[in-house]
């Protein structure tokens, strides 16, 4: 009960919701209530921990070797006088992984600006090109090197999956970057890219939520951020309290989900075997 304001607003909101519900809840799809409640609960947990972080509550963030290695990789490129290649996946900005990839790009661009290392970002979607350019431009400005930024450091290759892979492979073979970062949504081109990067001896760090590609990246890259680690990258790299609070909130939600899984399995068991209690499967199924 440390955050009185949070509980006050939450209470008020719930009261309003109760009044609305008792009033016949017009325009509301009642069969989706469980999902609605879950969203509110999860969003509430996130907001609570973000606010806690803003009040300077300390949260432990498990070290993620892959993210620690990002700065090392940029440093290595600087020492070798070679560029950093950043591949933000092959999908558009409507995929959260691409968005997360562009966010991490912003942080990487800050590092390359700081170290005065050249950065090459080939993209496969025009909107990603615009977003990635903005992220890089801002990062170079923040680091006080706007002169080092040029539009063509983020350039479009093609929308086609394998043509893009061929284009990026060509860049790797010609420019031999010292560090290659793959952060975004990938499909079958992942191993083609990562193996080529491996063959030129680049330090490779991948981050993706594309489950099918994780084994390929683990095999061919030096470090791989798997799923949520990738989404937590922004918090880790920026060390902003509100983002770190979000990661903590995410962990608490996960603990909640694990508890629900156990309870649901138990309820399902007793319902199946003895016919006692509600059919939890029916309740939890998204309508």
């Amino acid at each position: 009960m440390k955050d009185k304001q949070f509980w006050l607003y939450s209470g008020g909101f719930l009261l309003l919701l109760l009044v609305y519900w008792l009033g016949g809840h017009p325009y509301f799809k009642a069969e989706r209530f469980v999902m609605f409640a879950a969203i509110l609960l999860m969003a509430g947990t996130l907001i609570y921990y973000i606010r806690a972080a803003n009040r300077h509550e300390e949260f432990y963030l498990r070290p993620i070797p892959g993210l620690k290695a990002v700065e090392e990789a940029v440093g290595r490129s600087t020492e070798m006088g070679k560029p950093v290649l950043y591949v933000p996946g092959i999908m558009d900005m409507d995929q959260v992984e691409t968005v997360a990839g562009v966010i991490v790009l912003g942080h990487v661009a800050k590092m390359t600006a700081r170290y005065e290392t050249s950065l090459n970002v080939p993209v496969s979607r025009s909107i990603v090109m615009k977003a990635a350019r903005e992220a890089c431009r801002e990062s170079y400005m923040v680091e006080g090197h706007p002169d080092m930024f040029h539009d063509d450091m983020v350039h479009y290759i093609t929308d086609d999956q394998f043509a893009y892979a061929a284009g990026v492979n060509g860049i790797m073979i010609r420019e031999k970057p010292a560090a290659v970062l793959y952060m975004g949504k990938f499909y079958a081109e992942s191993l083609i890219l990562a193996e080529t990067g491996n063959s030129i001896g680049a330090i490779q760090i991948a981050g993706t939520a594309s489950q099918a590609q994780i084994p390929f990246f683990v095999t061919a890259c030096d470090y791989t951020l798997i799923g949520e680690e990738f989404f937590a990258a922004s918090a880790y790299l920026s060390q902003k309290p509100e983002l770190i609070g979000g990661v903590k909130g995410q962990d608490m939600i996960k603990a909640g989900i694990i508890t629900i899984i156990f309870i649901a399995v138990f309820l399902r068991f007793i319902n199946d075997v003895w016919g006692i209690g509600p059919d939890i499967l029916q309740i939890l199924t998204v309508q």
């Binding site: 799809k29 969003a43 996130l46 350039h155 394998f162 079958a188 390929f216 061919a220 937590a232 996960k254």
Partner: protein, 272 residues
């Protein structure tokens, strides 16, 4: 500054909340917006943005040719390919009596020719590279370094062999003999005692042979040692368990990232 900061955040918040909670609202206009319009708006925007990409591509390639950068000769091919694709798509059908639009899938048209004889073999070539890269990656990284790596290696081999027809002709009795030998190697490494190794391997071979002779050596029995069945089991249980755990984590990550956007906490996409 308001156009680059507050307005974009406001748009994200409003559209984000509408899309998130629109799913619970029983009102046709909102439903139509959430289900169809919002995504289609994005596609319309993205379609127009393709011009930006195309222009950037051309600019880069022309620049490369003018400055004679390494590999500039390929830039000429890229530009010619670009012009050819546009010509085949919008200006020359190659066959009379075919509707514009239908010409892309009609045999004999210039566009279909380009698709069949340029695009298809090039795409297939890139995809087929995977076979080579999978081989070299597996060769390099599948090492018995520790228990987990060994487990990965064994599962990988079961899947690789069990998935293809050759796995179906490998008898489960052969797999059992291999297991007995592997057990012998393991015990020998652990205890370094030849007698124990000999006893276990000898006993194992005798037991398998006796069981085989009594049952008539059926190819797929006991099914637990039959590779196609074993690989199906690995796919269906351990794999699904791991995949589900990762799926839940990813789903949570996506949810948390989206909420951070909607609430305006994550502003990196506008450069903050």
């Amino acid at each position: 500054m308001i156009w680059k900061r507050q307005i974009p955040i406001l748009i994200v918040t409003i559209v984000g909340l509408l899309t998130l909670f629109g799913w619970f609202i029983d009102e046709p206009t909102v439903e139509s917006f959430v289900n169809d319009d919002a995504t289609q708006w994005y596609d319309i925007l993205a379609s127009f943005a393709i011009f930006l990409g195309a222009l950037n591509l051309m600019k880069m390639q022309i620049n490369k040719i003018i400055k004679k950068k390494p590999g500039w000769i390929y830039s000429i091919i890229a530009i010619l390919g670009f012009i050819f694709a546009i010509t085949a798509g919008f200006f020359i059908k190659g066959v009379e009596g075919v509707e514009w639009g239908a010409h892309v899938t009609t045999d004999g048209t210039l566009f279909k020719w380009m698709f069949d004889f340029v695009f298809t073999p090039l795409s297939a070539t890139m995809f087929s590279l995977l076979a080579f890269f999978v081989a070299s990656a597996a060769y390099r990284s599948f090492r018995i370094r520790n228990f987990e790596a060994s487990l990965l290696l064994v599962s990988g081999i079961i899947i690789m062999i069990g998935r293809v027809p050759v796995g179906g002709i490998i008898s489960s009795w052969f797999v059992m003999y291999i297991l007995v030998l592997a057990l012998g190697i393991g015990l020998n490494i652990r205890f370094k005692n030849k007698m124990i190794t000999l006893a276990v391997v000898g006993g194992g071979i005798l037991a398998v042979t006796t069981a085989g002779m009594l049952s008539g050596w059926p190819l797929d029995q006991p099914s637990i040692f039959y590779l196609p069945v074993l690989q199906d089991w690995i796919y269906f249980y351990p794999n699904v368990a791991g995949t589900r755990a990762i799926m839940i984590g990813i789903g949570l990550g996506i949810f948390a990232t989206s909420i951070r956007y909607i609430l305006g906490i994550e502003k990196s996409y506008i450069g903050e």
